[in-house]
Amino acid sequence: MGSISIRNVTKQYGLPGKGTPVLHGIDAEIADGEFIVIVGPSGCGKSTLLRMVAGLEEISGGQIAISGKVVNDVEPSERDIAMVFQNYALYPHMSVFDNMAYGLKIAGVPKAEIQQRVDKAAGILQLGALLQRRPRELSGGQRQRVAMGRAIVRQPQVFLFDEPLSNLDAKLRAQTRIEIRKLHAELGVTSLFVTHDQVEAMTLAQRMIVMNAGSVEQIGSPEAVYARPATTFVAGFIGSPPMNLLRGRAEGATFHLGGQVLPLTHRAPRDGDIVLGLRPEHASLGESVGWPLQVELLEMLGAERLVHGKLGGAEFTLRLDGTLTPPAEGHTVPLQWSREHLHWFDAETGARIEG
């Protein structure tokens, strides 16, 4: 029912042939009821893609289908979707009730049913007491909930979220994240959520679409994307603090980095220029044997400690449990890791190399 099919979708601004392309051939299949997060840095085209699904932007090439029906030329109000905007986009001169009822009123839904649907949505989002207020009398979090209520009453097949948490403060963001998850568990409606925050992506997504510069880098569950990033971009984008990416040369069972020869426990998947990836939390301090990490500075974060240093001349960050004794700044300490936590990437394309 609420499935979304995005096939070879491209977008360019300007005249065909002379314009600026912003999306290069996006392909994605989304099943009914899935919560999909589109994540990427600013300017990667994720909002543009969402707006094309919504019908607010023209589709330059390719096809988008919702529930099996191609919607390239269908008006937004006919696509059976609802959208939650970053700036809430509430109608300032209408009460909360009227804001939520507006779409239904235009569609000609009978008054009694409108009342019932709005009351139900208000109950789910705890807006009952605020129904007669104007948007300017509400806090940011309340406004966002009204925006979500407006989407819920339409009972659409797809929810579209355009960075809805970006305007909220950190605490409210965490709370609203959980509310959105609960909402999805209760209503089960297919949702497309756009964000630049990888924490939001990891916590909310059933599957993620990681985008960069107008292309899809990887589509997969948070676990899959975290454990097996498909490119150096995904490796460096997902996970905080980001994965350490070391550009060096592999020769047999050694890795040459900045003049230093670092021993490996196995052969590298291929010889020559290569990028080695290791997450800060997957490295540990050895007793005496290991790669030499020159400690530069420490960051104490409470439950954990970040050790920033240099390995073979390259920047390297190590995450230590907060209860362990930290190394002293200026000292060189041995770094240990296990084989399954090493990631290899092609030095030119950044693509993952298995092995």
Partner: protein
């Protein structure tokens, strides 16, 4: 004031009171003159206290009289003509400029920029500049001495269009997108979103345009020859006969006071909206 200086406070008050007296005094004299007989006024110095002929003078003015040096037309009828033309001009200007600003801001059509600049250029053509051709057209269409002739040539307004255009540009795009997703077409959006949000601008514009329409002198002078179609500002002038005939100043003053009342009322009643409309930034 950051420093509390009593002398400056007193000075400010004195200046303000003086200002009020200078502006209000002529109005007071006019009112006093309208309550006396023509004879009392001409015998200098005129008494500064209101006389006893208030009701008599005003009824004579409103109903018109049979003798008199200048025009003896009933002021009541003239007030009606002024009221109708001022209202038609104000409301007409607002409706037309709302629609044209809406078209310019929210639609992309082939000659959009041409239309925009054409409207802009009309700012260079006040009524006085185009008065001869306009008169010819109105006369040829047989619109002399009609309400249509008084109001239609004055209705299109570039300033009002620009005011609304600037206002519409401040309406966030997301509002339009949310309305689109909710299924609102262009006119629905106009009626449900833009109009309610423009209320204060409309009120401010109404006050300004009503007073503009009420005070129109040159155009009505050309277009009307029949006394029953004079607006009241022309009526005042016509009551003052030139030459040596004795004018009935008390009735002229009464007419002037009557002419001042409706604009003053409009400003007073709408002043709350007027100020709000000029500084409102609620979103």
């Amino acid at each position: 004031m950051v420093e509390r200086r009593p002398t400056l406070g007193i000075l400010a008050h004195v200046v303000l009171i003086l200002g009020v007296i200078i502006v209000a005094f002529p109005l007071y004299v006019t009112f006093v003159a309208s309550t006396q007989t023509a004879q009392d006024i001409v015998n200098a110095p005129m008494s500064l206290l209101p006389g006893s002929h208030l009701v008599e003078n005003y009824t004579a003015a409103i109903q018109g009289r049979s003798t008199g040096a200048g025009s003896t037309a009933p002021v009541g009828r003239m007030m009606f003509v002024s009221l109708v033309s001022a209202l038609v001009i104000a409301l007409g200007k607002i409706s037309i400029s709302l629609l044209s600003a809406f078209a310019i801001v929210y639609f992309r059509f082939r000659f959009r920029m041409v239309a925009f600049w054409a409207i802009f250029m009309t700012l260079m053509l006040p009524v006085e500049v185009r008065i001869s051709p306009t008169y010819k057209v109105v006369a040829d269409l047989g619109m002399l001495n009609t309400f249509a002739g008084l109001t239609v040539p004055l209705i299109a307004s570039a300033t009002a269009t620009f005011l609304f255009r600037q206002f519409f540009l401040t309406v966030p795009d997301e509002l339009l997108e949310a309305a689109r997703i909710d299924g609102a077409g262009p006119m629905r959006f106009f009626k449900d979103m833009l109009l309610p949000l423009s209320r204060t601008s409309m009120a401010a514009l109404f006050v300004i345009q009503f007073i503009y329409g009420w005070n129109q002198y040159l155009w009505p002078l050309l277009v009307t020859t029949d006394e029953s179609m004079y607006p009241v500002v022309i009526g005042i002038k016509r009551m003052i006969a030139g030459g040596e005939a004795a004018n009935e100043w008390n009735l002229v003053m009464a007419t002037a006071v009557l002419a001042m009342i409706p604009p003053a009322l409009v400003v007073m009643l709408m002043q709350k909206w007027f100020v709000k409309g000029l500084v409102d930034t609620e979103k």
